[in-house]
Each structure stands twice: as C-alpha cells, then as structure tokens.
C-alpha cells in the first residue's frame, strides 16, 4: 500500500513540515502526529527519509521505536518486519501505510499527506 506517486494527486494531497531533520538521529525513527494520525519517520544511515504509519497492525506496537536497516523496520514488540519502501510485511502481518517524505532546502522534514478521509485539521 504505497502513497506514491504523489504528483498525480494534487487535490487530495497536502504537505506538512515536521521541523528540522536533525531531530531524528541517523538510523533511528521518531513519531509525529499529523492530521490526527501517527506517522513514524525514519532517517536512514545514508540520510534519506522514510515514513510509515506508526502503529503496528499486529498488536499496536510503536513502530518508531523499531530497529531498521536500509530495507525494513522491525516492530519492537513481536519483531514483525515491514518494508520501509512499501509497508508490506515479510512476516505475515497486515501492511503499514506509507507516506512520501523528503527533506527541503532548509533541512526540514516534508511529509506529503493524502487526505483519504477528508478529516484534515489543517
């Protein structure tokens, strides 16, 4: 379940600036509340960002506390693994939702957030 490509949904997508990228250490994740949703943003060791829904579909585990590599995040509660790219689980769990995320010129995290439920608080 991927939210890409963002450019084809101009009407239903909004951008959120989540603040400076250096609030996330390399190789770790942090959780952000966006539009009433929890989003886990990860900063890979190469500096690129990935964003996924922050709640493990298995038992509600905090995905942002997971251990990552370049491909996957592992939920800390029961070690379910999810692709950082697609959100799909390689361990049989339901997939996580993915978001498009980038760093802008001011080194801020920019999350593209599709309004699938039309409940934007912005």
């Amino acid at each position: 379940m991927s939210a890409d490509p963002i450019s084809t949904e101009p009407v239903s997508t909004s951008s959120h600036i989540l603040g400076p990228v250096d609030q996330i250490p390399f190789g770790e994740g942090r959780a952000f509340g966006v539009d009433g949703e929890q989003v886990a943003v990860f900063r890979l060791r190469d500096g690129t960002l990935r964003a996924l829904s922050a709640v493990c579909p298995h038992r509600g585990g905090p995905i942002a506390d997971g251990t990552i590599d370049r491909e996957v995040v592992m939920c800390p509660l029961h070690q379910h693994a999810f692709s950082l790219e697609t959100g799909c689980s390689s361990t049989g769990a339901e997939p996580l939702r993915t978001y498009s995320v980038q760093e802008d010129a001011e080194q801020n995290i920019v999350l593209k957030y599709p309004h699938i439920r039309g409940n934007s608080l912005a």
Binding site: P25, G27, E37, I63
Partner: protein, 838 residues
C-alpha cells in the same frame, strides 16, 4: 521480571449469556478441538474451561523424541503456551486431574476439590504408556522402580534425559521396537548411552510394515550401534532399589541402568468408565464425535473409539477436531467423521519412514511391487488393488511420498508402468510428486499451510526454504512436514532455491560463524556495528536483525574501545528500560542481592506516587518493578529515583538472588547476602549473548534457588562453596551442573567471572547457558575454567576485568540525552492495547 498480568476482558453488556464449555484434557486433541471451535466463533458462544493433567500449556507430543535426542529444547515444542489461554479468555486448570463427571447434573469434579458446571463437555483424555506385565516393575510401595521410564510426557522425557546424563549410567534397554521405542533408543544413543531394543514382534515396526521392510530397518538401526532383539519378551526388571538389568524369555539377562517401556499406549478411559459413559476399547462416539447416547458430551483423540477403530496418530485427531467443532458451534451440523485412512511419515531413528495402508498383498489379485536395497537402507513396497494404491511402505528414500500419499488418500488412477510409482524414470526428478499435488493440499497440518500458500510465498520472493517457512509458518509446528515443505519450495522456485547456510552464522546478516566473525573484527580493527556491516556484510548491507547481536559482541570484545552507535541497539537499550505490550516501559532500580533500605523504599514509594505508577510489582529477582512508565517520563523518574539501573532489560547480567544467609538464618552456613552483593557489584551491566540470572544460597536448603540459575552458588558445611552453571527455571527447566567446589568467596568470584567470560566468547547469540553448558559439556568447562587446561584462564580474567572497568551506569545520561528525541514518545495517539491497571 517484566511480565504484566492480564485478566479477561469484561463482557459486553447486554450480550446473550454464554454457554459453558468444559474440556477435560489439554493435550493435542483437546487444544486442537478448542482451536477449531475458536476459529468458528466459539469465543462468542462459550466461556471455555480446560483441565489438564500436566502443569503446562499444550505441546507437541510427537516432538518429544527430538527433545530426548537434544535436537530441540522442550520450550520449542509448545503448540500453545500459557499466554494463549489468557489471550483467548480460556480458564486453564493445569496440573489438575478430573476424577468424575456427573452427566445428570452436568458437573465435573476435579482432584483440587473443584466442582465445575458445564453445558457442553469435551473429553480428550488421550492415552498413556502401556506397562506390560513383568516382574520387578514396581517397588513394594507400588511406584515404578527407579530407572524405569514410560515415554509419553514432557516430564517423562526430562527425567530420561536427566537419568541418561548421569555419568555412571551407561546402558539402557528399550522395551518395544515400534515407532516410539526406536525414537527412544535413538534419543538415548545421542546421550552416549549403549542401547538395546527388545521387541516381542518378529520384526521392527510390525504395525507399519512387513517383515522385509522390518529387516531393512533393522540393518539401518543396527548401523547406528543399537542392538536389536526381536521375537523376544522381557519377563522381569532386575535390581532391588535401582534397575540393574532385565531378564528375557529364552535369552540371557541384559545388564543396564535404565529401562524405557515403549510397548504401546492404552486409552485413558478411567474418568469415562467411572462416570458411566460407554467404553469398549475406548470411549464410544458416533460420526459427530458425540459420546454414544449422550447429548452434550463429546470426545476426541486417542481416548475415542469410532466405528470400532482407535487411532494413535495425529492426522485422525485433526480430522475429528474439525467435525466436532462444526457440531459444537452449530456451524455445520451435517458434518460427519467417517474414519481416517492413516499414513505415517516420519524420520524414525534418523531413517525416513513412510507407511500407509496395507503392508503386503491380501488377495491373489493384489499386485505387490517391491524394491529392496538393504546396503543403502532403502526399501519400497507398494500394494495395488483394482488399479488403486491400497498400501505403501518407503524406507530411507521418501522422495515419492507426496505423490503416493495423495494417490492413497484419493484413490488416483495409477500409471501403467508401476515402477514410476517408486522412481522418477527419466522424469524431471522428485518434483513430479510435488507437481502432482493439488494447490489446496495441506502441506503443514499444524499451521494449516497449503501448497498454494507456500508457492505464493516463493513467487513473492522467498527463495530460501527458511524464508518460505518464516513467511507462511509452515513447518513451525511439529516439523514432520519439513521435508515436504522443502520439496514444494524447491519445486516452486524451479531450481532457484537458495541454500540456507545461515544456520551457523552468529547473526543472520553476516556470513560468518562466531569464531570467524571475531577473528575478522580483530584483524580489521573494526570498532562499531556500521563498520562491521561495511567490511563484512554482503554488499555492505546493514541488517536490522543482526544489529543487537553485533553491538553486544563488539562491546564484549572491545570494552571501552567500542564505538557505540545508538541505532544498533534495541529500544530497551536505547532508553534503559523494558518495553511493555502497550509501548510504556518498566523501571527497575538496582537492589543488590535483594537488599534494600528505608531510604530506598521511601524514595521508590515517593517516585511511584509522584508519577502515578500504575503497577508496582516485586520481581522474581528480588527487586521492585515500576510498570507503565511513558517513555518521555523515564529521565525524570530516574532522576527522582537517583539509583543505578537494575538492568532488567537487554541481554546482560541482571541480578543475584540471595537468601538471608548466616547472620539471621538458623541454618545458614555462609554469608550468602554479602557474597551476592559483591558479585552483583562486580558484574553489573555486563553484556552477554543472553540474559544472566544468578543466585547465592547460604546452605543446601537453597532458598535462593541457586540450582536453577545461570550461575548458582551454594554454601556447604566446612566453609566451602559449590558453583553450579547452566541451570534454568523458565520455559526450560534444568538443574545446573556442578562446576567446582571452592574454599573461599574470592574464588567464587574469580570462577564466576571466568565462566561468564568464556560463555560471552563462545556462546551463540541468544543461546542461554542452559543450552550452552550441555553443548560444550561440563567436563570441558571444568577443564578450561577450573583446571586451566587450555592456558586461557588469565586471558579470560583480564578480558572480564576490562569489561568490569568500563562499566558506566546508563542512567548517568539522564540529564543529557545522547541522541535528539531519545525519550520522545512513540506511542500511538490512541493507546492500544490497554494494559489493565490494578
């Protein structure tokens, strides 16, 4: 200790009252029936209560032979451990036996004095080892003589292993040359015991195969060094207090230290007989699995007689459970059990054995196709009637099993060239058998995985057998289907299946075993986890699953020269607390040797009050656990506590449990409290391949439970101290092995440190000492650690000292987070699942 007690969810107001389902028996049949009932929405219809004779969750009895041989730990064979019952709101009375059923008032009476009402009852009492009549089996007191074992339960198996591991026990006799007897013989052989099998039948496994197959099997078994006596009956067990041998009819006595009776099983029908239910060979049931003439009582499994048949295999039990569940839940009231065609497919004593239907021809018109190659241990026999397969025996080569099983089950038409049933003549090999399987055919019966599910996993990119097993959970149950799983995966991958050598790797992401990995790290001077990935991982790829193990290894090897990268740590080690099921954390301040003070208690109470700690709990390691602390509050909680971390998280040295010792106790012979505190002070925070829990007891009464700790110390008379290693009392239970007896507490500390360092250097990642110690052997450990036979003692001591010297209380960083947002919440906005607050 970190577990949080749960309690059943509250009932929905206004819901219809649930019927009471009581299940007598918590083995494979009882639990499977309940699983099938739950799968049909049974949780909405019933409040479920289960009684089990054994004090455990339910486990896979078939795998006991693997536990005996040491291929699996007993923790690995549980199908549903205790949390499963909690999660499904099932009340389990484990270790409680049901004595009687009152079918008129609908109550069950159990031996704990409990009277339990039911609306629907399921009897799944299984069977027990049959002890054939022979002299000397029992002591005058009526119990089985010491050294005589059945082979039926996890406790039987543990006792056999324990007995076999005692040094002066060298010889065993197994009575019974069937499947179970051969498994027992093979398992004991792997403990270095001389084994002889005494079998009353004319050939081995006579229930599953004919004499020719039995002869080939005998050759294979004898090649393992197991002696076999067929057509022979044991008439007496010799020895007064202990077993000293057996007497045979027509043959000389055999001297031995243990006797395993594997002469078949008998259904457990006592409860049914006593309660006035119809019992012939077993409890008589109809096609709905309902006990004859009873409306509300069902029975399932080995305690059941259906259409005159009693089954002792797993497959019929699965089929029965489905039919029973359909009726009990009302999902399909037309379901009928019409009996099972039984096929056995197993590795017996290391030999592949498959058997189904007839062993040999019965009518003149039956075709019998036989191939025998005894020198290679291969034998194949197929019986054909009216162009349908009615029986087969395969020994030593099970490549055609998948196809033959299906041909047998479904009566498929057979090829004109019968030899194609046994061999792939000019065909593309073993894949044919798999290719012919239906998509819907169930490959793994434990987890209900179909051929299609496995094929889909392979198509989805799982190109190794273990990968496909992980993705589908196939083969994760009893494991008897692993061969077939491998065949299906290889077929689906069309030859592109990758070998999975990862089993020997220290961590999955680096293709090196521990010694080679350590050597490479030393040689290249690597000092951080990311450096290790860059230098040693294929494609320099990071691997999330490998990070924690590498971080631990590097810290152990390098002490203060280790470059600590926080992303390599598990969340517990990033915030120095233990993550709980709701994403909050538990905080355990250090309390050395379980000793505390007024000031500490007051401070802990104040902190708990100030932070509204939802649960305060004493741990099994004699400390106080503050549960339910949000991550963002951790620094303040620790600042308010102003105590060092108790390391109740992570793979490291944790705690030293102590008893009161000699100052107060009337029996204490040594100052266990003082020594416990000294050990805990010395080794605090030391990383290791798995957690380490220690104990010191002041006298052999062992109030600190030292015999079941990773390292346990016991003071004995004369000012001496015994050191035990490799004990455990968790999911796995093991009494530690005596490493040494020493004269002085200082020697205890030296040997403890040396053992821990050796374990840190040699053990596999996540290998607890209860696996490590038996793997390397206590004699070897004694030689290296106590006698310094390899001359490495000084090195081990120095390495441990370096680790001790580099200890820093992790909570010293509480005022100055090491990474941005280190203690920022990761909780969902709506917290789920909620942990109940007491």
């Amino acid at each position: 200790m970190t577990s949080v007690l749960d309690r059943p969810q509250g009932r929905h107001a206004g819901a219809a009252p649930r019927r009471r389902l009581v299940v007598v028996g918590n083995g494979m049949a009882g639990a499977r029936a309940v699983e099938e009932i739950l799968a049909r929405g049974g949780a909405e219809q019933f409040t479920i209560t289960m009684f089990g004779d054994e004090p455990y969750g339910n486990y896979n009895r078939i795998m006991l032979s693997h536990v005996l041989s040491g291929e699996e730990s007993d923790a690995d064979i549980f199908l549903n451990a205790l949390p499963w019952y909690r999660e499904n709101s099932i009340t389990l009375h484990a270790g409680v036996r049901v004595d009687r059923i009152d079918k008129f008032t609908k109550h069950v009476f159990s031996n704990d004095g409990r009277v339990t009402p039911y609306d629907t009852l399921i009897i799944a009492t299984g069977s027990r080892s049959h002890m054939p009549p022979m002299d000397g089996l029992y002591t005058p007191g009526g119990s089985v003589k010491h050294g005589v074992f059945g082979f039926r339960t996890i406790d039987d198996t543990r006792r056999m292993v324990q007995h076999a591991q005692q040094e002066h026990h060298r010889r065993a006799v197994v009575i019974g040359g069937g499947l179970l007897g051969l498994e027992a013989a093979y398992g004991l052989k792997s403990h270095g015991i001389d084994v002889e099998v005494v079998h009353s039948g004319g050939h081995l496994m006579n229930a599953q195969m004919g004499p020719d197959g039995g002869a080939v099997l005998r050759r294979s078994v004898e090649a393992l060094g197991i002696r076999v006596h067929t057509s022979s009956r044991t008439t007496a067990v010799l020895g007064s207090d202990m077993v000293s041998g057996v007497s045979l009819r027509d043959r000389e006595d055999i001297a031995c230290d243990m006797v395993v009776v594997a002469a078949g099983i008998r259904p457990n029908v006592d409860v049914a007989v006593l309660s006035g239910l119809p019992v012939e060979r077993a409890i008589v049931v109809d096609d709905r699995l309902r006990v004859q003439d009873e409306d509300d009582i069902y029975a399932v499994g080995e305690c059941v007689q259906h259409r005159g048949e009693v089954y002792g295999l797993v497959a019929p039990l699965w089929e029965q459970a489905v039919v029973l569940a359909n009726h009990v839940t009302g999902v399909d009231t037309s379901a009928a059990y019409l009996g099972s065609r039984t096929a056995t497919k197993l590795k017996v004593a290391g030999v592949d054995v498959a058997s189904m239907g007839l062993h040999g021809p019965e009518f003149d018109t039956d075709e019998h196709i036989v191939f025998s190659e005894p020198s290679r241990g291969i034998f194949k026999s197929i019986v054909v009637r009216d162009n349908k397969m009615v029986g087969a025996t395969l020994l030593g080569d099970s490549r055609k099993v998948a196809y033959l099983t299906q041909a047998y089950d479904r009566g498929l038409p057979l090829p004109d060239e019968r030899i194609a049933l046994m061999f792939d003549v000019g065909g593309p090999g073993e894949a044919v058998g798999v290719a012919e399987l239906d998509d819907g055919a169930q490959v793994c019966n434990c987890n209900g995985v179909s051929k299609k599910a496995l094929v889909d996993a392979v198509k989805g990119g799982c190109s190794t057998v273990s990968g496909a097993m992980d993705a589908t959970r196939a083969g994760k149950g009893c494991g008897s289907c692993k061969l077939l799983v491998r065949q299906v995966v290889e077929w689906a991958a069309d030859g592109a299946v990758e070998e999975d050598p990862a089993a020997s790797y220290y961590v999955p992401g680096i293709p090196l075993d521990k010694p080679a990995l350590m050597a490479a790290i030393r040689k290249q001077g690597l000092r951080s986890v990311s450096q290790v990935f860059t230098a040693l991982a294929p494609g320099s790829a990071e691997d999330a699953k490998s990070k924690m193990g590498l971080a631990s290894l590097l810290k152990m090897m390098l002490a203060d020269r280790y470059i600590d990268e926080r992303d390599a740590r598990f969340i517990n080690d990033r915030v120095h607390a233990n993550i709980q099921r709701d994403g909050t954390f538990s905080v355990v301040p250090q309390m050395k040797g379980g000793v505390t003070s007024v000031q500490q208690l007051r401070r802990i109470a104040d902190v708990a009050e100030k932070h509204n700690v939802p649960l305060i709990k004493l741990t099994g390691g004699q400390r106080i656990d503050l549960l339910g602390i949000p991550k963002e509050d951790l620094p303040q909680v620790w600042a308010d506590l102003d105590m060092p971390s108790g390391y109740a998280y992570g793979k490291s040295f944790r705690t030293v449990k102590t008893c009161v010792g000699k100052d107060f106790c009337r029996y204490g012979t040594g100052d266990s409290t003082k020594l416990g505190i000294e050990i805990e002070s010395r080794f605090q925070g030391i990383e290791s391949p798995a957690k380490l829990k220690l104990a010191v007891s002041g006298c052999p009464r062992n109030c600190a439970e030292s015999l079941v700790k990773d390292v346990g110390v016991v003071a004995v008379e004369g000012g001496r101290w015994e050191l035990y290693v490799g004990g455990a009392a968790g999911a796995h239970i093991r009494k530690g092995d005596l490493l040494a007896t020493v004269d002085h507490p200082e020697e205890v500390k030296v040997l403890t440190g040396r053992f821990m360092q050796y374990y840190r250097e040699q053990a596999n990642w996540l290998e607890r000492t209860y696996s490590f110690v038996p793997r390397v052997g206590i004699e070897h450990l004694r030689a290296v650690i106590v006698e310094d036979s390899e001359g490495v003692a000084a090195q081990l001591d120095a390495a441990m000292q370096a680790s001790v010297d580099s200890y820093v209380d992790p909570w010293s960083e509480r005022d100055d987070p090491l990474t941005p947002g280190q203690f920022r919440t990761s909780l969902p906005l709506t917290v789920l699942p909620q942990v109940p607050v007491r």
